[in-house]
Symmetry: C2
Subunit: 233 residues, 2 copies
């Protein structure tokens, strides 16, 4: 997604970020800039830049005469895409995946309802195209191709909602869907009911039927929650 390790400070972040978000340094742990600079074999300037970025994510706090202290998890900027990626890549993955799926279940139905009101003709076309692509790859071990269309589908819905906050969740949803397909419990072929629901959403959006688009998307969300045993089946 984002270019990894761009520059020396990026390389440092690629190591320190995952370590912190994985809880390797408990809250209150103290790091010292000079020591870190030595450990990563970079200059203090580079290390300081890395610390500034971690600080802007509220992962750490830098105080004079004390050092760089790790903040409690409750203060982290958990919506930062970088933080989300780090957590998804580490031991926190299952927990993060659940949090995000609950978030999706709240957002996407509303987004679909708004999309039904605001989607352009072009977006409607994209949507049906995505739905068709899902149908076409819903049988016969074509999970990867299915995934591409699934991701595109949800991204279009979020974008078409016309709300910038929703739109920016496209990347997050993509990570969740990809994660589910590649690492979590995903049956050999996707649930046919889910595929049908996606087609229905595309139709509802095209027809401008907001309540129906919202309701169908809510059912998709229920399915996603059930997959992770968040909701009783």
């Amino acid at each position: 997604m984002t270019t990894p390790g761009r520059g020396l400070h990026g390389h440092v972040l690629d190591t320190l970020g995952p370590a912190i978000t994985a809880g390797e340094y408990p809250p209150g742990s103290v790091l010292r800039t000079d020591e870190l600079a030595q450990r990563f074999e970079v200059s203090r300037s580079v290390m300081r830049e890395a610390v500034r970025v971690l600080e802007s994510m509220h992962l750490v706090e830098s105080r004079r005469r004390v050092g760089v202290t790790v903040r409690p998890k409750a203060e982290w900027n958990v919506y930062d895409p970088q933080v989300i990626r780090w957590r998804l890549a580490g031991a926190d993955r299952p927990h993060q995946l659940r949090s995000l799926t609950v978030l999706r279940s709240a957002i996407e139905p509303v987004a679909a309802g708004l999309a039904a009101q605001h989607a352009t003709a072009e977006q409607c076309a994209e949507l049906t195209e995505c739905a068709l692509g899902m149908v076409a790859n819903s049988r016969g071990h074509k999970l990867d191709k299915y995934l591409v269309h699934d991701i595109a589908f949800h991204r279009v819905v979020l974008t078409a909602s016309g709300n910038e906050m929703f739109a920016r969740l496209g990347d997050v949803v993509a990570e969740v869907l990809a994660g589910r397909t590649h690492h979590e419990v995903m049956f050999e072929d996707p649930d046919p009911a889910a595929v049908t629901l996606h087609v229905g959403v595309a139709e509802a959006v095209r027809a401008g039927d907001a309540p129906r688009a919202e309701e169908l998307t809510r059912q998709i969300a229920v399915g996603a929650l059930q997959e992770l045993d968040i909701l009783a089946p």
Copy 2:
């Protein structure tokens, strides 16, 4: 909220951040580190740290031989609390307030439903206390006191949901509520219906009645949307 201007690089951010998020530099604009360092009368090291932070927010992109280019709005990390504050403080305020209110309307009902299932006894007590505080200050020009309890109420609900992503929206909701009271259209006294709804939510959460908590919160959300003319009355 967050300590402003902590250190020189913080002061630079306090000026550059609002300027960029206000659209003063159109997407693609090129800034040069050295020039900025001169303008703000800081060393290049400090300026570089500031740029790194802006880069981590996806507000700018730094490339060799080119400079620091401003990214299009669609790529910004719009969930970054700092970015939200900057936008709320600038000309983008009304638009940002609308986006956030729509976000709230999607999240909070679900959060309330979850809170009804997961809230501790202590959280239930806090909630009723907040609701009572709202009732007590709902008449007679006590908007500021009312606001305090209103903010606390929504923060408790979001926290009690047990979802970390929801919980972290507490600050955002606080900003929206404060913004509505202080700058936007807010009648002399809060809508009595809204107050009643809050009391109802507190009761529903205490009773563990998730559907009711969700539905009542949804009605609160509808009210908030109507206030901003997002929803037809």
